[in-house]
């Protein structure tokens, strides 16, 4: 059963890690938290659901649709909560993203109805049995896709000009501006990317859990934020580490402590790290 929980934990951890990267990206650039991240994830799930239920049962198209919708929503949140509110205290932007979180939920409830909708399964057959643990094709697919996504991001940040621009703006946006980097544009792109990533995860999660509703984003939003704080919100490797560790710890705590403590363990970690090690496991030294 240990192996099975490890498999469960790694799968769930992949989702947490990707959401944590979204939080890290925004934190790195603006030193702010986008509390509407969970709702962008939710809209991604709906976009994927529309594709597979009404257009074509193609998983990749669904993921692409989620990515695109998340990109657009990230762009809107950045323009309203951050760009338009530049120069006013940070708390205004934070409150504004909380507002977006409620707004998105209610818009989704108004459009799609508040009831849970079914999402079809993909690749749900068992691929292999390792030490008594069932591993489904979907789990393999999710972990591989998350890894591919992280690799792509790594290439983007360390192998492209825009990636260099994002890192420079994250470190010192004033000087980056002096160097001729269009700070607003780079920020907008990175913010949109963070939304796209969250929404992409939303599609994956909808397929994994086979259900979507307007309120599905709250828990993963908090968990993704926890994972980011846990691993070190200033760093993408930290966010990845935090995501996987959180997934594994949660599943193990169900097995060895009690299922009632699953969320408790996460929130305890969040509080402990915020209080005693706000830079996370990888700490300040790590870079974006």
């Amino acid at each position: 059963m240990f192996t099975q929980q490890l498999v469960n934990g790694i799968t769930e951890g992949s989702l947490f890690a990707l959401i944590a990267i979204s939080f890290s990206l925004v934190w790195g650039l603006l030193k702010l938290v986008n509390f509407a991240m969970g709702e962008i994830y939710m809209f991604g799930a709906y976009a994927g659901w529309i594709v597979v239920s009404y257009i074509t049962p193609n998983l990749f198209l669904a993921l692409l649709a989620g990515f695109a919708v998340g990109w657009g929503l990230g762009w809107i949140v950045e323009k309203v909560a951050f760009k338009a509110l530049r120069g006013v205290p940070h708390i205004a932007s934070l409150v504004c993203t909380i507002g977006f979180s409620f707004l998105f939920k209610e818009i989704a409830a108004a459009i799609f109805g508040a009831q849970t909708k079914a999402m079809p399964s993909f690749y749900s057959s068992t691929a292999l049995v390792v030490a008594g643990a069932n591993v489904s094709w979907l789990q393999i697919f999710m972990v591989a896709l998350a890894a591919a996504m992280m690799l792509l991001l790594q290439l983007l940040f360390y192998g492209t000009k825009i990636g260099l621009g994002v890192r420079a703006v994250a470190l010192d946006y004033r000087t980056a501006g002096l160097m001729g980097i269009k700070v607003d544009r780079v920020t907008s792109i990175a913010f949109s990317l963070s939304g796209a990533l969250a929404a992409f995860v939303g599609v994956l999660a909808a397929i994994y859990y086979n259900a979507i509703n307007p309120y599905m984003g709250f828990v993963p939003g908090i968990k993704g934020f926890t994972a980011a704080v846990f691993g070190g919100i200033t760093s993408i490797p930290g966010a990845i580490l935090g995501g996987y560790l959180l997934g594994i710890i949660e599943n193990m705590s169900v097995q060895f402590v009690s299922s009632g403590y699953k969320d408790f363990v996460s929130y305890l970690l969040l509080i402990v790290f915020l209080l005693f090690r706000p830079n996370g496991i990888l700490g300040k030294k790590a870079k974006l």
């Binding site: 059963m1 099975q4 929980q5 469960n8 934990g9 799968t11 769930e12 939920k105 209610e106 409830a109 109805g113 508040a114 009831q115 849970t116 909708k117 079914a118 399964s121 749900s124 068992t126 069932n134 489904s136 979907l138 999660a205 994994y208 859990y209 086979n210 259900a211 509703n213 309120y215 599905m216 709250f218 828990v219 993963p220 949660e250 599943n251 169900v254 097995q255 009690s258 299922s259 009632g260 699953k262 969320d263």
Partner: protein, 374 residues
């Protein structure tokens, strides 16, 4: 001088009296009642069904001339399934002198939280669905018509142990007032008649990943799984259980009875056992009139909870009719005295604790459809 004083006093009295009459909704020939329900949030579907059923009942009653010759006016408040919101709505309703009674809320947690407000103000709090055993004994103003877990769970325990011959049961419940109660009464009754509970696990509202907890429950090698959950969580749990390749009989309380369960759960909920007090395919003409009326107006099939809300407005109307006035105390006393009320969800008789004893029928999901168990 004295005459003028008396005239002045009379004028004041008339004004004050008139104002209080107006405030009580007496002069405009209407009866104001309030509905508290989770119209948004996790329980929105139940709340929306509450609103639909109550509005449908009110429209029917008003079309037939109302009650005591007065028409109903409904105020609706959205509690979002949040006890804090339910409390602030209770404060709003009880501070409005025109409102004479309240229907709601949906969850036991919300009802329990707002109970002290209705108790202090002296207003009927009639919940269609609150089934926590601690709710109605808490205040003489609290009523519930769903039938508490204290009555439903012995039925389910008997079904599992005696009819289905299940000896070892694992329980998965949602960690809230309702879920705690449900699992507790099931466990007590199942063990009393000789069954063995091999594992009990829980989850919090909003959880979507049940892989870990199912893996752990599977380890206890039960004969069957008892899901003390709402239908949407129940469907999710079933889907993830099916994907894990864990094939096992599943049972659960009447909260699982919904067409949404089969729609969401697909083949994973086939074979699931639950019970109903209200069955949409019932041949009773009153049930059919309600179901077709509901379908025509809202394009959806009403479930058990929707039917309970419909019964709630009718039983409240019956109480107002018997009371012969809109006095809050008179309505409460009349409601408490109701016996043998023929509702869509069965015959309702209030116990001294103001909850209801219902009759239960076992059902099973067969090919995506609920069938009465013989």
């Amino acid at each position: 001088m004295q005459n003028r004083m008396i005239a002045l006093l009379s004028a004041v009295l008339v004004l004050v009296g008139g104002a209080s009459l107006w405030a009580a909704g007496g002069t405009d020939n209407t009866i104001h009642i309030a509905l508290t329900a989770p119209l948004t949030g996790d329980y929105a579907e139940y709340g929306v069904n509450f609103q639909r059923s109550v509005q449908m009942g009110i429209d029917e009653i008003n079309a037939q001339g109302g009650v005591l010759g007065k028409k109903y006016v409904l105020s609706v408040g959205d509690s979002r399934g949040d006890p804090k919101e339910s409390v602030s709505l209770a404060q709003k309703w009880t501070s409005d002198p025109s409102i004479v009674a309240e229907i709601g809320d949906f969850t036991s947690s919300c009802c329990l939280a707002s109970q002290p407000i209705y108790d202090a103000a002296g207003m009927v709090q009639l919940s269609p669905t609150a089934s926590a055993t601690t709710f109605t004994p808490g205040s003489v103003w609290s009523f519930s018509i769903v039938g508490t877990q204290a009555y439903e769970q012995p039925f389910m325990a008997d079904l599992a142990f005696n009819k289905l011959k299940i000896k070892r049961m694992a329980i998965l419940f949602i960690n809230n007032d309702w879920g705690m109660d449900t699992q507790k009464f099931f466990k007590e009754n199942f063990e009393k008649i000789g069954g063995k509970i091999v594992a009990v696990e829980s989850f919090f509202q909003g959880e979507k990943d049940f892989n870990a907890v199912l893996t752990k429950l599977k380890e206890s090698k039960p004969d069957a799984l008892y899901m003390a959950t709402m239908y949407n969580d129940g469907a999710l749990i079933s889907l993830q259980r099916q994907k894990m390749g864990w094939d096992i009989p599943v049972l659960g309380p009447s909260s699982l009875y919904s067409t949404e369960l089969t729609k969401l759960g697909g083949s994973s909920v086939n074979g699931l056992y639950t019970n109903v007090s209200f069955f949409a395919k019932d041949t009773d003409p009153r049930v059919q009139a309600y179901v077709t009326g509901f379908q025509k107006r809202f394009g959806a099939t009403p479930n058990f909870h929707a039917a309970l809300a419909y019964d709630a407005i009718y039983i409240l109307t019956e109480a107002i009719r018997r009371a012969g006035s809109t006095d809050k105390q008179a309505i409460r006393d009349a409601l408490a005295g109701i016996k043998g009320f023929q509702g869509l969800t069965g015959t309702i008789t209030f116990t001294p604790n103001r909850d209801a004893i219902k009759g239960y029928k076992a059902v099973q999901v067969v090919n995506g459809d609920f069938k009465l168990l013989k």
